[in-house]
């Protein structure tokens, strides 16, 4: 399996249930990793891949609902499917409001869980693509020299080569060379492409000269 293949995390303190869920998920060919507590899950090194979390509500130590809010606080975006032995309405409402994708009451049918997992992974794949593209873009941006970064910002702000040269105190030709280098390093096909990339990296305008 590749490192970027989707992965399902299972957190349940009841070992037989955990193993059964793991066995079920593995039967459809998905990668699966199971943990007995929220602590173990948080301590584990998680591969960068589209993922989802199958989480028991009632857990020793921090409960599933607490883990959900901890993850949100740490800005870890992972779709969560809750499973519980005894769900009440307030608990369900709280979990769903906090962004849970599904809330299943034990005992649940295997297909229900698998469907929920497929939905969650599809959802996370979009987010994951976004995340990896962004990381890629950032890496490319960081490979630019300081002068190239300046040129990128000025190009993105719509200035002509001549104006950029005046701004930076260099010749138009030098600017042209820098600009070609920036296009190449960023992997941009056109000027429009480059401007869009600059906007994505810097939606709030923190890249300034």
């Amino acid at each position: 399996m590749k490192d970027s293949d989707p992965i399902v995390f299972v957190v349940d303190d009841d070992e037989p249930v955990r193993e059964a869920v793991k066995r079920l998920i593995a039967s459809v060919g998905l990668r699966v990793e199971a943990f007995g507590s929220t602590r173990e899950f948080l301590d584990a090194k998680r591969p960068e891949a589209p993922a989802c979390l199958v989480l028991d509500v009632r857990l020793p130590g921090a409960s599933g609902l607490e883990l959900q809010s901890d993850l949100a606080a740490a800005n870890v975006q992972i779709p969560i499917i809750f499973i519980t032995g005894h769900a009440d309405v307030p608990m369900t409402v709280r979990a769903m409001k906090a962004g849970a994708v599904e809330f299943l009451t034990k005992p649940f049918r295997g297909q229900e869980l698998l469907d929920a997992i497929q939905n969650a992974i599809a959802k996370d794949r979009v987010a994951w693509n976004d995340r990896t593209q962004m990381a890629d873009l950032r890496a490319r941006y960081h490979s630019l020299t300081p002068r190239e970064k300046e040129v990128l910002v000025l190009v993105a702000s719509g200035l002509l080569n001549k104006q950029i040269g005046a701004e930076l105190g260099t010749s138009e030709l030098t600017v042209k060379t820098h600009r070609a280098r920036v296009m190449q390093k960023m992997g941009a096909d056109s000027l429009a492409d480059l401007v869009r990339m600059a906007e994505r990296i810097n939606p709030s305008g923190t890249i300034t000269k």
């Binding site: 009841d14 037989p16 249930v17 193993e19 059964a20 869920v21 066995r23 079920l24 593995a26 039967s27 459809v28 009632r58 499973i83 032995g85 005894h86 034990k106 005992p107 649940f108 049918r109 295997g110 297909q111 869980l113």
Partner: protein, 399 residues
């Protein structure tokens, strides 16, 4: 002006003087008349005029009558007659008359005043008595209101207590039910999930028999785990009989009836007992057996809560069933038991009550069975049902 509190009708000074003048004039007239007829007359009418003036006109009217009488007597009857001169012989008589008139007038007005004061005191007393009576009446009303309020508060208190007991029982049962359902749901979840996983592995191409076998293995284990939980719960209800003492069933019934009397009275249920005199003792747990009897009685009372067309009668009877069994029967005149329910009423969670948990008879059944006895129910031929249990008698104490 006479401002004595005894003068009820404050008559004017003129009226009082007029009274004295009129009375003395009348006395003079009468005395003169009598003198003409009988040639002599006493001063009796003048005394009467003084007394009457002092009595009806007050002190000053009395004094005026005395003076007028003295003048009239002196003028008309003392020598020399029809003159204000006074002979030597007449002087003592005049002094005697004047002094007598003064004394009579003073005595009369003193009596009058004393009587007025007495009347005043009496009126005052009456007024006080009336005030006190009114106060007492008011206090009495307040007391009655307080008593009614207290009674209402007491009733509310008992109701709240009963409600609390019910809620406590319900929430304890709820917590127990939640805990039980969690304990059973865990293995069930593992079983269902493993079964689904097994199907998946079997239908994959090629089938993965190893994974399927592991899943089935786990199913068997988790099935066993669930049955362990169930066994554990059953043991919790039945095996908890740490105490086995000699128990007299009649004592239990008497104790329980005392406890239940209040509830019975509130529900307009007449509680009757027919306790056998030849009962053997039994061996058992007092508290648990009390629980059973309480439960049966409360069920009976509840079964009669809708009954309005016949007496609500609850009869608790104890007898020797045979030489070796003590029987306790609780008979009510309530709604009875539908024939189809006769067996099911002892199942856990079976209930016909809106608020019932369906645990009472089930637990009672378990307790009686744990004591080696039997508990059964039957519909009465007329109304209601009889729930009874038989417990093995202690042999040594059979009388």
């Amino acid at each position: 002006m006479d401002s004595h509190p005894g003068s009820r009708r404050p008559a004017s000074a003129i009226l009082r003087s007029g009274l004295a003048v009129t009375l003395v004039a009348a006395a003079l007239g009468l005395t003169l008349l009598l003198q003409n007829v009988f040639s002599t007359a006493g001063y009796l009418f003048f005394y009467a005029a003084v007394v009457a003036s002092a009595w009806f006109g007050g002190k000053w009217s009395g004094w005026l009558a005395v003076i007028l009488s003295a003048l009239a007597v002196e003028y008309y009857f003392m020598a020399p007659i029809r003159s204000f001169g006074l002979s030597r012989e007449s002087l003592p008589i005049f002094i005697e008359f004047s002094a007598s008139a003064l004394i009579v007038g003073w005595f009369s007005s003193w009596r009058r005043q004393a009587e007025a004061e007495l009347r005043y005191a009496r009126d005052e007393l009456q007024l006080r008595v009336e005030e006190r009576t009114a106060e007492l009446k008011q206090t009495n009303r307040q007391l009655l209101a307080e008593m009614a309020e207290r009674k209402r508060a007491e009733e509310a208190y008992y109701e709240a207590q009963a409600e609390l007991a019910r809620v406590t029982r319900m929430s304890a049962m709820g917590a127990l039910a939640a805990s039980i359902s969690h304990e059973i749901n865990q293995p069930l979840a593992a079983v269902v999930t493993n079964a689904d996983a097994c199907m998946m592995w079997l239908s994959s191409k090629p089938p993965n028999l190893e994974e399927a076998r592991a899943a089935v293995d786990s199913i068997a284990q988790q099935g066993t785990r669930a049955s362990e939980v169930v066994r554990h719960i059953r043991a919790m209800f039945t095996k908890a009989t740490p105490e086995r003492t000699k128990v007299l069933v009649n004592d239990l019934i008497r104790e329980v009836s005392t406890l239940i009397e209040g509830a019975a009275a509130r529900n307009q249920v007449a509680l009757q007992t027919e306790l056998g005199t030849d009962l053997s003792a039994i061996m058992g747990d007092r508290v648990q057996l009390q629980q059973v009897i309480v439960n049966l009685i409360l069920n009976g009372i509840e079964a009669m809560s809708e009954v309005a067309d016949r007496p609500r009668l609850l009869l608790i009877r104890s007898t020797m069933q045979s030489s070796d069994e003590v029987l306790v029967a609780v008979r009510d005149s309530g709604v009875g038991i539908a024939p189809k329910d006769e067996k099911r009423i002892f199942d856990a969670f079976f209930t016909t009550k809106a608020q019932g948990m369906g645990m009472g008879l089930s637990i009672s059944h378990s307790i009686i069975e744990a004591h080696g006895g039997r508990l059964w129910a039957s519909a009465n031929s007329d109304h209601g049902a009889t729930v009874q249990f038989a417990l093995p008698a202690e042999r040594e104490t059979a009388s």
